[in-house]
């Protein structure tokens, strides 16, 4: 299929948003390595963080094939205002309940997003999306098992999970921040748009949480997590980028 220049830049915008989310959350979740609540979970969570970096890399490679810089430069060479990740993924790891809730809300959305993209008219993207189906299935299975376990556990675990949900849920809506590129992506059959994804996601999250004692909080300000897709970020992103790119900034060609 042939795309117009405007359509190409809409596709690039979509892939940057997805890749940056995966890169930043992958980095965030990897901060638990060695510090996880128990050894087995430490290994599982770290391994999934690595999967996320793998997804980011695959998406940057698509961008590279579309004429952008190489994956390393895209991941490590862009300043804050050029990043397109949403605020939700930028927040520090906090307590494990927060990281687990974020992992659940994010990966459910990612899994649905990749499902939708499996039918994309943009072949490079649909092939890549289908490749990660298995990994994402495990990620959501892992998240759902933990959510079920802790929300039906004792009072302490349920209260911690409810607090985490109260913080995470409004921010998670930032994943679906409306973008100018949406309409063009829908028209060209590349992606059904953020609004459609958000509807599917709400349905799925409602369905899973209805089997627990957790209550989805009322969201007064739907735009609370918006801005990331336009390059406006939280105070947490810059320190993260500084830390993540420390070696790259000393020697961009370092190998290890």
């Amino acid at each position: 299929m042939n795309y117009s220049d405007a359509q190409i830049s809409a596709i690039k915008d979509l892939i940057f948003r997805m890749a940056d989310d995966q890169l930043i959350l992958g980095h965030r979740n990897s901060e638990w390595t060695g510090l996880g609540p128990i050894l087995e979970e430490d290994i599982a969570f770290s391994s999934m963080a690595q999967d996320k970096l793998g997804h980011a890399q695959a998406l940057y490679q698509i961008l590279h094939r579309m004429g952008e810089a190489d994956p390393d430069s895209l991941a490590f060479g862009r300043k804050e205002d050029k990043m397109r990740c949403c605020h939700f993924v930028e927040y520090p790891i906090g307590e494990y309940s927060f990281s687990l809730m974020r992992h659940f809300l994010f990966d459910e959305s990612e899994s649905l997003r990749f499902d939708m993209l499996g039918n994309s008219s943009f072949e490079d993207l649909s092939n890549t999306a289908r490749k990660f189906r298995g990994e994402l299935k495990y990620h959501t299975m892992h998240a759902e098992t933990w959510i079920k376990q802790l929300s039906n556990g004792n009072d302490e675990s349920r209260i911690r999970m409810q607090n985490a949900l109260n913080i995470c849920y409004p921010l998670a809506l930032g994943l679906f921040e409306p973008c100018e590129s949406d309409e063009m992506l829908i028209e060209s059959g590349v992606f059904p748009g953020e609004k459609a994804l958000q509807e599917k996601w709400s349905g799925k999250i409602n369905m899973i949480l209805s089997k627990t004692d957790l209550k989805i909080p009322d969201v007064n300000d739907i735009k609370i997590g918006y801005g990331g897709r336009k390059g406006i970020h939280t105070e947490y992103l810059k320190p993260l980028l500084d830390e993540m790119t420390e070696v790259y900034n000393i020697d961009p060609h370092a190998e290890w």
Binding site: E31, G34, L35, I38, L39, E40, E41, I43, A44, S47, M48, Y138, M141, H142, T145, W146, Q149, N154, E243
Partner: protein, 121 residues
């Protein structure tokens, strides 16, 4: 005073320099599960190790990353370690047999294993 490390993640945790070694509460003691791994459909499940988990559902999702992350796997079993009924170590003698009874050993299985292995190549 908290630990200052060259790893910024550790410093951020504000971990006490003297670790808290007080005994864990009962709820933090999880049971162990034994994990069995099947490399491809039709193969035997092979015991690969054990792990901690509060119940079998959690044991399965943790087993997947501990034991099926790097190698081919199509199926996993987890069994509560205490559910395995086993011979005790001082009963080991019951397996001893006189060398003259070689005719009773199931040597055919060993040969079959080798034949199957060869066929598999």
């Amino acid at each position: 005073m908290s630990i200052k490390s060259i790893d910024p993640r550790i410093t951020r945790e504000e971990l006490p320099e003297v670790p808290d070694n007080s005994p864990l509460k009962e709820i933090h003691h999880w049971q162990t599960y034994e994990v069995f791994h099947q490399a491809k459909t039709g193969d035997h499940h092979v015991h690969v190790g054990s792990l901690h988990a509060p119940n079998s559902e959690m044991a399965l999702i943790l087993a997947k990353e501990q034991y099926a992350r790097r190698y081919n796997c199509v199926n996993l079993w987890v069994v509560k370690t205490t559910d395995i009924f086993r011979t005790s170590n001082d009963e080991e003698e019951i397996f001893q047999t006189t060398p003259e009874k070689i005719y009773r050993e199931a040597g055919g299985y060993k040969v079959m294993d080798r034949i199957n292995k060869f066929k598999g190549k």
